[in-house]
């Protein structure tokens, strides 16, 4: 790490001069495996679950085949922890350092991050310990079954939603409040919900965050690097994965049309949906070559409205079917409804999903989808 000390200080000073601010950032040299581990688990000391194992395995394989490697990782904590990869070239790591300061600035200054839990690193550790204790007390198998179910419904969190009525339409909050769970089970659900909210925030600001970090990176490095190095960077920037590229292009557009001051405002108050809604234009859609692809018809549509709607839908519901708890049912009944009735759900997944919900709800669970009502109870799945 010593060899980077000077360049870290220089980049940090440049960043501050550009009006950026951040909590302390700790850089840490690590190997590809450690980065794959953190990337697959989301946090370095989170509880161990088989689900991350699959992702971890895949990332490690990809890295070993040089198909794809994660260059950098930053945690939204105070202080921020950033992981550099030992195998990166010096230049790559310089890029990463600049990029990381972009993220750190975003974590500190973006409105939506104000309420985020900066102590997540420690909490994840505590969660992991709690889960281990429960495993001792109630048996690993029982705990895993509950965890699997909790993680299955975890995608229904919404880190932005503060209105209790709206929140209770979302399955995980509803279950936490009303499911007839034992105390330790409810506690598990709560832990998973907290972690899921932490990730939900990151996910909902993925494009703007990566876009901003890439923008910062390119702005700062123009002053740090030689012309030749800079040219090779520009190539690399174009080959970044889509969220980076889309976000970066949007920030560039703001800079060109409204100036740097506006750029800073956007990074402070916007999240993905608003950024896309306000800044994405027909011509950017064309240039980025993003489109709505219909696999049945094999057609592409560059229609701005369609692309926008699709992007926003992705952000709001994570690309998963949107299911809400139907209000007005009391007591033991849990009725879910699929909100886009015209889209069909895979019946196999419905069975698996309802089974998982049933593990937590204990009583019959109903789902309105595909023009019928599916019921899961003690006897299994039935539909009418």
């Amino acid at each position: 790490m010593e060899e980077y000390q000077a360049v870290v200080e220089r980049i940090e000073a440049l960043a501050r001069a550009k009006g950026l601010s951040f909590d302390p950032v700790y850089f840490r040299m690590s190997d590809g495996e450690e980065i794959a581990e953190v990337a697959s688990m989301g946090l370095p000391n989170r509880f161990i679950h088989w689900y991350w194992g699959g992702t971890f395995k895949e990332l490690v394989t990809q890295q070993s085949k040089e198909v794809f490697s994660i260059l950098e990782l930053v945690l939204n904590t105070n202080p921020s922890y950033a992981f550099l990869r030992r195998n990166n070239t010096y230049l790559q790591n310089v890029l990463v350092i600049a990029h990381v300061f972009g993220h750190a600035d975003f974590f500190k200054n973006n409105h939506w991050y104000q309420k985020s839990n900066k102590n997540m690193l420690n909490e994840a550790e505590l969660h992991a310990r709690t889960i281990r204790q429960y495993e001792q007390a109630y048996g690993a198998e029982r705990v895993e079954k509950v965890l699997d179910a909790c993680l299955t419904v975890a995608s229904t969190v919404n880190a932005f939603e503060r209105n209790p009525a709206e929140r209770s339409k979302r399955l995980i909050y509803y279950l936490e409040e009303r499911a007839p769970l034992e105390e330790w089970e409810r506690h598990l659900l709560q832990l998973i919900r907290e972690e899921a909210e932490y990730f939900d925030l990151i996910q909902r600001t993925h494009i703007i965050n990566e876009g901003w970090a890439t923008y910062v990176e390119s702005t700062l490095l123009r002053e740090v690097l030689t012309a030749k190095e800079w040219a090779s960077i520009c190539m690399q920037l174009c080959n970044r994965p889509s969220p980076y590229l889309i976000g970066y292009s949007l920030f560039k557009r703001i800079e060109e049309t409204m100036g740097y001051e506006r750029v800073l405002v956007v990074r402070s108050f916007y999240e993905d949906v608003r950024l896309i809604d306000e800044v994405l234009t027909e011509d950017l859609v064309r240039r980025l070559d993003i489109f709505v692809y219909d696999p049945k018809e094999k057609t592409k549509s560059y229609d701005l409205q369609q692309v926008k709607e699709m992007l926003i839908h992705q952000k709001l519901y994570k690309g998963e079917p949107h299911v809400e708890v139907e209000p007005g049912h009391n007591g033991r009944e849990l009725v879910l409804a699929h909100c886009e009735e015209d889209k069909k759900l895979d019946p196999k997944r419905i069975a698996l999903f309802l089974k998982a919900v049933h593990t937590l709800w204990r009583n019959p669970v109903k789902l309105r989808a595909n023009g019928r009502v599916y019921t899961y109870d003690r006897r299994g799945l039935s539909s009418t």
Binding site: G42, P44, S242, K344
Partner: protein, 397 residues
């Protein structure tokens, strides 16, 4: 600051999670092995595809192909011209919005890993013995320079020795007799050189797998064959870690295939068993492997015009191979007829012919006992089928 992680002292949570994941995967495979193994195209690009939903979290998914957000190569900074094919389109779902932890899991296994897992499952189900990795007992590692108590026969050193012998011979003859000639008799002075290196006894064995892929060989048929081969591999690999394996498939005509292709078959066409034997014998040309095994898998329904030819070829194969194992693939458990009947008859008479009726795991187990009888025999020092030939081998002087 002392960081224990710097010294490699950390909990490898990733690997622990992977272990848990793989345990579940194993369970899944155990339950679904039969279905997986029947896939017509078992290996694609070295991978076995699985249709795993259970290793994913059971979240809801759409049941139809819906329009998706995607990105073409233009946005990735690659060439803008030309038509965009399906492959160049990157679907943005997982990257942009889906689960934080990345894309949807559809588990693909390395073929080797799949085979190992399948072996594990099969051996357990059939209650067959497992081997540990060969122990290296008796081998003592030492830092001392080994005592030179033997002469190399092949390699650089004997070559140099021979060269030196010949140069000295040349010089001596020039000096003493005034002729520019050697007086080296290669039979004595270069004894190590005379022997054709190709005739060295090679302790590898050759295994030729021949598979009938005519129209009837699908589903349960393939499953039986593949299970048998996997378990065979398990034992042969332990015995002959370096052996050579070649693969032939046939219907009307026979073709040699790679290992991967062998497990990707399109069953079609008629059956000419003779062609399978012919191809297998062709493969023997120039082969110096010590033992030659032939494993033939078919349902025995060779076309009637081929019947006599197939019988002749089979008899020839018995001459040329040390062991000809014939697996009659018979998932329905019907009576044995057709060409298989001939083989069954022959197996009673000829020591190096074996016949197995593959109907289920139980019969695969019986087949292995048949096929691998030599492993036991060898341990006892006798190799029952060896009488057929062996005398022609070896040109040691």
């Amino acid at each position: 600051m002392e960081d224990p992680a710097e010294k490699g002292m950390r909990i490898h949570r990733g690997r622990l999670a992977q272990y848990k994941h793989d345990q579940l995967l194993r369970e899944y495979l155990k339950q679904n092995l039969n279905e997986l193994i029947q896939q017509k195209e078992l290996v694609v690009n070295g991978k076995v595809k699985t249709q795993i939903a259970t290793l994913d979290l059971p979240t809801l998914k759409y049941g139809e192909e819906l329009p998706v957000l995607a990105q073409g190569p233009g946005g990735q900074g690659r060439s803008k011209g030309g038509k965009v094919s399906d492959e160049e389109i990157v679907v943005l779902g997982g990257i942009l919005g889906g689960d934080h932890h990345g894309k949807e899991l559809r588990v693909e296994l390395d073929f080797d890993e799949f085979v190992r897992l399948a072996q594990e499952v099969l051996l357990e189900e059939m209650e067959l013995p497992t081997f540990h990795e060969p122990t290296r007992s008796g081998e003592v590692e030492t830092e001392d320079i080994p005592e030179l108590d033997d002469l190399d026969r092949i390699g650089l050193r004997p070559d140099l020795n021979l060269e030196e012998t010949m140069i000295h011979s040349l010089l001596r003859n020039v000096r003493e007799r005034g002729v520019l000639d050697y007086d080296v008799d290669l039979r004595y002075d270069g004894w190590y050189f005379v022997e054709d290196p190709a005739s060295y006894q090679n302790h590898r064995s050759l295994e030729v797998y021949v598979l009938d892929i005519s129209g009837s060989m699908r589903g349960e048929y393939l499953s039986l064959v593949r299970k048998t081969i996997f378990v065979l591999w398990y034992y042969l690999e332990k015995r002959y870690p370096t052996n050579l394996r070649r693969y032939v498939v046939f219907q009307d005509v026979a073709e040699e295939k790679t290992r991967e292709e062998f497990f990707c078959v399109e069953s079609s066409g008629g059956t000419h068993i003779s062609s399978g034997f012919e191809k297998a014998m062709e493969l023997l040309e120039g082969v110096t492997e010590y033992d030659k095994f032939l494993f033939m898998f078919t349902d025995g329904e060779t076309s009637s015009s081929d019947f006599d030819l197939a019988r002749r070829r089979y008899e020839e194969a018995l001459e040329k191979f040390d062991l000809v194992c014939y697996g009659h693939v018979n998932p329905g458990g019907r009576g044995i007829g057709g060409f298989s009947e001939v083989v069954q008859e022959m197996a009673r008479k000829r020591p190096n012919a074996t016949f197995a009726n593959l109907m289920d795991l139980e019969t695969i187990k019986a087949a292995l006992t048949e096929f691998l009888a030599f492993l036991r025999g060898e341990r006892g020092g006798s190799r029952p089928w060896r009488s057929t030939r062996r005398s022609s081998r070896g040109s040691r002087h």
